[in-house]
Symmetry: C2
């Protein structure tokens, strides 16, 4: 297949984004509903294309879980359509007044949310990511260039084709709001288009996110690893402690918000370790521990150096004993990935301190790490979980896909009038923000 001209694609996306920024909510929602309808109407074609990907995956002996995530059936297509319709039902994040101020009589300032522009989104095998990301970007007025996994190529191609056809039926909404690229070479070309692309959203391994950061001057909204911790404080309730630790590891071990390391205050270790280790053993979790953990649970394997920095994403867990809240916080800030960390305690002061000092996007008190998720947080559909410290952090929904602009309305004012001795003074009076 011939390489697409990425400059042309990016330029087209930029042009589409400038139009999209002014498209009224109603038209965007109409396009979204048309997109959902189109997927359902072409369900058979989509499933047929997906069969080709599945055959390829089986021929290439791709791992079972990957093949499972790749598969699309009628119910999956209906789920995609439902997802798009739920995005249509969300409030429009564009055009929100964030601030209004009188600078002087007859001179006002407002700050209004607006789209970012062009998003480059790179993700892996699940074809459901195509309608999900496309709908979030369209609703927020952004044009998107999608790059899915090579193993989902046929599925992604037909999904994008049907989405673009649907967009084309709604007047005023540019078809280039959604475009697809397919090869690694195209990704590397895309990363050079900083004149046209405003944000790159890579979903994948930590190494991949770093590769993207190293090869572009476009801002990157990173979704990298999750080394999440649960800390069982000296004042923790043993029943809650065991329940939360088991859920954080076992509810969905492959998720980025699953626990990888369990920290236990040495004073409570003897109370909880037997139940915990039995619980994990029952579910086939391989547990490794620090020296002191191993001395309490004799059949445990010793944790190796580097274990505290590992994201297993699997039925494996490391346990370390600490002697204080401070030591737990320090361990997390040193070895964690700034994703999600929980303290189990009945001591409110310790909980507050933990939540303030642990430098992670989600910090929790007496709740499972697995709650860190856009849907569970009630934020609507999410484009991913960001480990950035700027722009958007934690579960990122529509709000993370907009920025703002300042609007000044005057009656001919010049800065000269406000300068020097005898110059006019600013009033800087806050005004109510318009709805």
């Amino acid at each position: 297949m011939a390489l697409k001209n990425l400059e042309e694609i990016a330029r087209g996306a930029k042009a589409a984004s400038l139009i999209l920024a002014g498209v009224p909510t109603e038209s965007k929602n109409k396009a979204l509903v048309a997109m959902a309808d189109a997927l359902e109407a072409h369900s058979a074609e989509i499933i047929k294309a997906n069969q080709q990907d599945l055959e390829f995956a089986r021929r290439e002996n791709l791992p079972g879980p990957l093949v499972a995530r790749l598969a699309v059936d009628e119910e999956k297509v209906r789920g995609m359509a439902r997802g798009i319709r739920s995005v249509a039902a969300l409030p429009d994040p564009v055009g929100q007044h964030q601030l209004a101020m009188e600078l002087d009589e007859g001179l006002t300032l407002t700050r209004v949310s607006c789209p970012i522009g062009v998003i480059g989104a790179i993700f892996e095998s699940r074809p459901d990511a195509v309608p999900q990301i496309a709908s979030l970007c369209l609703k927020s007025g952004n044009a998107v260039i999608l790059k899915g996994g090579a193993e989902a190529q046929n599925s992604n191609r037909i999904l994008v084709e049907k989405l673009r056809e649907a967009i084309g039926t709604v007047e005023g909404v540019p078809q280039d709001a959604v475009q697809l690229i397919e090869t690694r070479e195209e990704v590397s070309e895309m990363l050079k288009q900083d004149r046209f692309i405003n944000l790159v959203v890579p979903r994948g391994s930590n190494a991949f996110v770093r590769y993207v950061q190293d090869n572009t001057r476009i801002p990157v909204l990173g979704h990298s690893e999750g080394i999440c911790h649960v800390f069982l404080d000296a004042d923790s309730d043993p029943a809650k402690a065991v329940k939360i630790a088991l859920d954080s590891k076992l509810q969905y071990p492959a998720a980025c918000n699953a626990m990888e390391t369990l920290l236990i205050h040495s004073s409570t270790a003897a109370n909880v370790l037997p139940d915990l280790c039995a619980g994990f053993r029952d579910k086939g979790v391989e547990v490794v521990g620090c020296v002191r953990t191993c001395s309490l649970v004799p059949d445990l394997k010793r944790a190796e150096e580097g274990e505290w920095d590992s994201e297993y994403n699997d039925l494996k867990l490391s346990i370390r004993l600490v002697d204080s809240l401070e030591e737990a916080i320090e361990h997390i800030n040193r070895h964690g990935s700034g994703h999600t960390d929980t303290i189990v305690t009945e001591n409110a002061a310790s909980a507050e301190r933990f939540m303030n000092e642990v430098d992670s996007s989600s910090v929790m008190w007496n709740a499972s790490t697995r709650f860190a998720d856009g849907f569970r947080f009630g934020l609507g559909a999410e484009i991913g979980i960001s480990t950035n410290k700027t722009h958007a952090r934690g579960p990122v929904g529509l709000e993370g896909l907009v920025i703002y602009k300042y609007k000044v309305k005057g009656g001919g004012q010049t800065v000269g009038e406000y300068s020097g001795a005898g110059g006019k003074a600013f009033t800087h009076r806050k005004l109510p923000t318009p709805e």
Copy 2:
């Protein structure tokens, strides 16, 4: 001078930032007041160190305007102290509740603003930037690594020394909140410290900002060029048009928010060009024009190719005639730098369309481009004007130096309880945000 070990400096900044994140507003303000007092108390020493820089500048025949910006006298030191005290008087941007939601009975989510962490700030000759940036970072709970211009080396060194001494007098505020590096080699080492530094703020030329973007995986808050436009619409009031155009160019031509290109609707050109050209000629502005402008003003020089993409920052201006509002918007989105653009018109619909479709951080209607500034916007002191499309855009004050974290408080809940058939449902009920 020996190179500092940048990893050590960055690690120290990170450690300081984790402490700073929990320092109460009162202590931060106490440190700020101590910083202001220290500069005033050591005014003579600071001026003496500045003399060395000025002598060097004269010996090296540095340009006059640069030497002028470099000079520090007693009034300048008092100005620095006043600036720091005004930052102390601003509300603390940390700990603001942005969102509160009940996820279920006994399970709540809040989103609270928090510092970004460690900021790397790179700027040029004005020594006033040292107390300004240091105070904004400290107030927002961030540790900062400063790199000023080599020509201000002695001034910057004593300023940072006095600021750090002052910080050291306030219990609980870590001295490494403010550190200084001095060489280009140290900057290039700093850009590698993405484990410890969370945001780089370069102030300088477009080429320099691009150099930074090309050499780091740390997010960059770019402050690059300002190619700002004024568009005189067909429905513009000629008196306002002339007044705003002159102010936008002349009030401070070296500023990034000064006008570089004047776009005039062809139907109004004959009304305004004579007065405008006379006004600019009076002030010594070199004007270049498109073919049609030159045919109306015979003694004008023709604009060369590339003129529309030039930031003069000087007494030079390019004028182009356009035949429609659309053409003006298109010109600005193609040639502008997304900084600040103004429409002069009496037509509200045209003004709205211009402000919505021009993709710049500040868009204005009947007001001078020179208003785009943190102080004039009433946002408090600014760290710079961002041309980014993510995180913070336009004039960036304290608000651009914070991010947020999600806090979940529960009573032992697991995600397992909310999963599958018969699982509990989320309530997702908005709560009032605590003060």
